[in-house]
Each structure stands twice: as C-alpha cells, then as structure tokens.
C-alpha cells in the first residue's frame, strides 16, 4: 500500500469520527478505542507535557473516558444541558510514521461550537496513534493540542474536543 492510499484511508476514518462526535453518537465513538487508549487535552501553556508530570485540562484513560461519555449522555452534566452544537473541520492530515506501535497521524482541526447564543472557536492539531483493526483502525492515543494561548476565549471544555 502506498502512503497516499493509507492517508486516504486515515482521512476517511477521521471524517467518520468527526461526524460521530458532532452527532453526539458518543457510545459508537467509544467503540473506536483500544482498551489501553488515552484521550488528552494538554494545558495551553504546556502542550508537550505528560500525564504523569503535567497538569492537563483532560487526561483520560479508557475507563475515565467511558465515564465521561456516560456523564455527557446522562441528565446531570449541566454544562452540556442543553448540548453544544458543534461542527469540526479536519484537514492537513499527515502520516507521521508507521511503527509496530501503530500509525502516528497529525491533523488540523477547527471546531465551531454554538450554545446559548454564544459561539466559541477551538482550533489546533490532533495527534493520533492508530492501530489497524478489522475494517479500518482503532485509536490508541488521541491528543488534542489547542493553538489557543489560554482558555479565556472559550471558558470551559465540557464536550469531547
């Protein structure tokens, strides 16, 4: 398989993932992850930090991510009741490397969120470690690295970035 074909396959996977998130089909989205998966959003002033040593905004392993989804789909996550409307643009997909660990991918994102007549814009790069799975890929690592200098303009991250 050429890199180009792989990239097209990965792009297709990322577009479908974006659609699941924007459609709030979070249960389906969770099935994309491997049991050892992590989902992280670093603090804007420590974008290269580690879960072990740096304060992140979000640093989930799969059990905690699963609970996050359960909360968001329930009735008590006031910050997302009513839910945010989101639309994310995924571009500049680049295959960084392919190793025994999986395929490392970078993509750009621009995410527009509308809620209670306020509009927030989240933008940055997503870093993925993907594993080959039946019929496509599964996610071993997903890290959303914001280009925002701080969260002053967005306030909180109450949905899945």
């Amino acid at each position: 398989m050429t890199t180009n074909t792989l990239r097209l396959e990965v792009e297709d996977f990322l577009y479908r993932e974006a659609l699941l998130l924007d459609s709030w089909r979070l249960d389906e989205w969770l099935t994309l992850f491997t049991p050892d998966a992590t989902y992280g959003v670093p603090a804007p002033d420590a974008p290269e930090g580690s879960f072990e040593e740096s304060l992140f905004v979000i640093a989930d392993d799969l059990p905690r991510l699963t609970d996050r989804v359960l909360q968001l789909m329930g009735n008590e996550a006031w910050a997302e009741r009513p839910r945010s409307r989101t639309r994310r643009m995924i571009t500049n997909v680049m295959i960084e490397r392919e190793t025994d660990d999986g395929i490392e991918v970078w993509s750009n994102f621009a995410l527009f969120r509308s809620r209670l007549d306020k509009i927030s814009v989240f933008f940055g790069r997503n870093n993925y470690l993907l594993a080959r799975a039946e019929g496509g890929f599964s996610i071993r690592r997903r890290r959303a690295v914001l280009d925002l200098e701080s969260l002053q303009s967005v306030g909180k991250i109450s949905f899945i970035l």
Partner: protein, 437 residues
C-alpha cells in the same frame, strides 16, 4: 442587631441603598444583586483590591536568579521576578516613559527588560539602566527616579507571594490571621515545601467575580450541582464513607477570610485511599499517612489527611485542599465577566506514582475539563443571566444562621466574605469615587 450600613454614611441621600442587610434575630442575610450587575468594578479596585493583600504567585515559579513570570494580577499587568541579587520583586509592567509593557513574554529569564517602544532599558530590580539617544534628555531628567513602579508592599508566606498597594496595611501574617492555621494544615503536607505543577488552567467565566467566591466555598450546592461527580465516584469505587459522626464546619476566620471543612467523601493523595486509586496505591498512601503521624501525631495527621478544606483568603484567593490542592485566583474584567487562573499545588519531591495519582484526582473534579468545574461555570453564568430580572432584588445567604456551629452546608463562610466586602465598599472614603447603584 441589624447592620444595614452600606453606602449610607455621609451622603444623606436616600438614593444610596445598602449592599448587604444582616439581621441576626430575624435570621436574614440578604445581598443586593446590584452588587453583581452594576458598574462598580473601579470602586472595588480602589476600595477592596488596593486595600488588601493580593496573591501574585509562588516562589517555585521563579527558582533561579533572573527568572520571571508576567501576568495580570487583579487587573494590572505585573512582572514577578527573582532579581539578579536573588530578591523577589513585583514590577508593574508599564514603561515609565509612555506606558508600554516592557515585558511581553509570559515567563523566562532576563537580567534586563527593554521597552520595545523607545528602547528604555530596565534592570530586573526595576531601576532604569538607560534610555536610547541619551543626548536629547532634558536637563531635569533624573534616571534614578524613572524606574518601574512597584507595589509599596510585597511579602511572602511559606512561598506564597502577595502584594499590597496599601502602604499602611498590616503585615501579611497579621492580615492572614486565623487563615494561617488552615493554610498550615495544607502546606504541612509537604516536607520540602510546595511547588506548582507545570500546566496552567486559565479561563474566563461570564459572571461576576464574587459569584466564584461564593461557589468555591459552597457545600450546599455539591449534592445537586455535582451529582454527576458523585455518581462517577460510586460507579468507580471512589466513595469514602466518613461514618455517621461526620465533621463539617463553615467558619468566618476574620478579615473576610473563611473556610469550609469536613470529613472527605472522596479519595485524597494526602492521604485517604479508596479502591478507585488502585490496590497498588494503597501501601503508598498508607506510607504518606504514617509519615504524617510521625511528624504531627495522630490527631493532626488525621485532620490533615481525612478532611478536606476550601479556604478563601480575602479578596480573591482560593486554596482548596480537596481531591488535590488547587490555587485559584481571579479578578473582574467587567461586572459580568471574570478572568480565572488556577494551578495544582503539590509537595516537592513527591514520588512519580503519587504525583500521577494526585493529577488524576485533581482532574476528576477540578479544572475547565473536569467532572465538576464546568458545571459550576455553567451555573454561575446562569445566575448572572437570571439577575436581569432586577425586580428580584436580593440573594438569600441566611442558611445556617440559627446554628451555634454552622456546618459546611450552611452559608456562614460566604457571609464572612460579604461582611468584609460590605465594610470596605461602604466605608466613607475620600479617595474612592461615590458608590453607584
């Protein structure tokens, strides 16, 4: 006893109405919602912030000579710097010439700050080293008098650095008063002192800054606002049962400071284990506890480890020792918007495993992506929107007024803040402009 003091002194005007009405006999404590909506930010700056000790930063942020951080503290851009002589300085980040910020990086190491506008150059103790094209200076120009401004008072309590613009204010330990005892219960958890963990939560809330004070020391809202968090604990074997004799207090510490404290119902890195932390963590947490007993005896060790404490230091510092320790400060940008910055405080030299547990615990509740803070932000913004119904003139903070020892589900700790804020905002003061409602 009735205290309905605000804004009435010396005006003789009936149009000026009290901010706060406290009537102990009637069990009434009302706060006028105009305090959240009217344009009194500049009065608050003059009467409250400039007459208090305000938290600037932590010694661990500037460990080496010439290290600096630049941030906005209570609305002012300042530079916190360890000068070349090793002393901790707070410099006001505004060129003496025409006002531009002389430091435009949020942190770094620099012996000199050079203003980009006309290249005036300052030493990191604030002295003006030189001006560009010095031939043209006027005869009376005195370089020695043209250094960067500094607040008249800068003092440190156990690595926490504060500044005050009130030259005559009591020294910091006196000002902190009884809040020191609570602070010590937090800071004593570290044998080698505390440090801020890398990574900052800096965010905004579209609500009045005083709502975050109320919220940060509000035990009453937890069961309803944060039910999702308690469900998370229950699903994941994270609940701690303190038993029937649960200790719980809301305390006015004087000078506007207050604390809400009680037996914790959640795990704590220092030092309260729950199965959610994992079996492997248990011996480590036990060891931390045993060391506390060695250092302080069983009673104080138990108090430090098994109770949580939400500490408010007047006027805008929260140090909550809860799922982990958060240092949070904030200031009004406008009446209906605040800027917030918070950090994780942790013992220096903590083991890698404990640090990881601490950060996991921190993020289970705290921060703009945690399982609780976003819902607090949501509800403060909801209060602010609700205030547009100005016919509903008062907020009720009377809960627990009839109790001899108010518990954390009461509102005594919030009343402590409001009493001090009200005193400062109501005192006749020639310097402050008139109170506008």
């Amino acid at each position: 006893m009735s205290i309905a003091s605000a804004g009435q002194q010396g005006t003789g005007s009936t149009s000026v109405r009290p901010w706060v009405v406290e009537d102990t006999n009637a069990g009434r404590f009302d706060v006028r919602r105009a305090a959240f909506t009217s344009n009194i930010v500049s009065d608050e700056m003059l009467r409250v912030f400039d007459k208090s000790w305000v938290y600037v930063g932590h010694e661990s942020e500037i460990p080496n000579k010439n290290d600096f951080v630049a941030r906005i503290v209570a609305g002012r851009p300042v530079i916190l710097v360890r000068a070349s002589d090793g002393s901790v300085r707070v410099l006001q980040n505004s060129c003496s010439h025409r006002g531009a910020e002389v430091c435009r990086e949020s942190r770094g190491n620099a012996r000199l700050f050079v203003c980009p506008y006309h290249a005036w150059t300052y030493q990191n103790d604030g002295l003006l080293r030189g001006t560009s094209f010095p031939d043209g200076v006027s005869k009376g120009f005195d370089r020695k008098r043209m250094g960067l401004k500094s607040p008249p008072r800068v003092e440190t309590y156990r690595d926490l650095i504060f500044m005050s613009f009130d030259r005559d204010i009591a020294d910091l330990p006196t000002y902190l008063g009884r809040a020191k005892e609570i602070l010590d219960l937090i800071l004593d958890q570290a044998e080698l002192g505390m440090e801020l963990v890398e990574g900052t939560h800096e965010y905004s809330i579209d609500a009045n800054w005083k709502l975050l004070i109320e919220n940060s020391i509000d035990g009453y809202h937890a069961p309803s606002t944060h039910q999702r968090y308690f469900d998370f604990l229950n699903r994941n074997a994270g609940s701690v049962d303190p038993g029937s004799a649960r200790f719980s207090r809301g305390i006015d510490l004087g000078n506007g400071h207050a604390v809400m404290t009680g037996d914790a119902r959640f795990p704590r890195p220092v030092a309260l284990w729950a199965p959610m932390m994992g079996e492997r963590a248990k011996p480590q947490i036990d060891k931390v506890y045993a060391r506390l007993v060695e250092r302080f005896g069983e009673d104080r060790a138990s108090q430090i480890a098994t109770r949580s404490r939400n500490l408010f230091i007047f006027p805008n510092l929260i140090i909550n020792d809860v799922q982990a320790i958060t240092v949070r400060t904030f200031y009004p940008v406008r009446p209906e918007r605040m800027s917030v910055i918070s950090w994780a405080l942790a013992p220096r030299g903590e083991s890698k495993e404990l640090r990881k547990l601490r950060l996991e615990s921190y993020l289970s509740f705290l921060g703009p992506g945690g399982f609780a803070t976003p819902d607090d932000v949501e509800l403060l913004e909801s209060c602010q929107r609700g205030f547009a119904n100005r016919e509903a003139e008062w907020s009720d903070l009377s809960r627990g007024m009839s109790d001899a020892e108010p518990n954390a589900l009461g509102e005594e700790q919030m009343r402590a803040f409001w009493r001090q804020w009200n005193r400062m905002m109501s005192a006749p003061e020639s310097q402050a402009s008139e109170i506008r409602i």
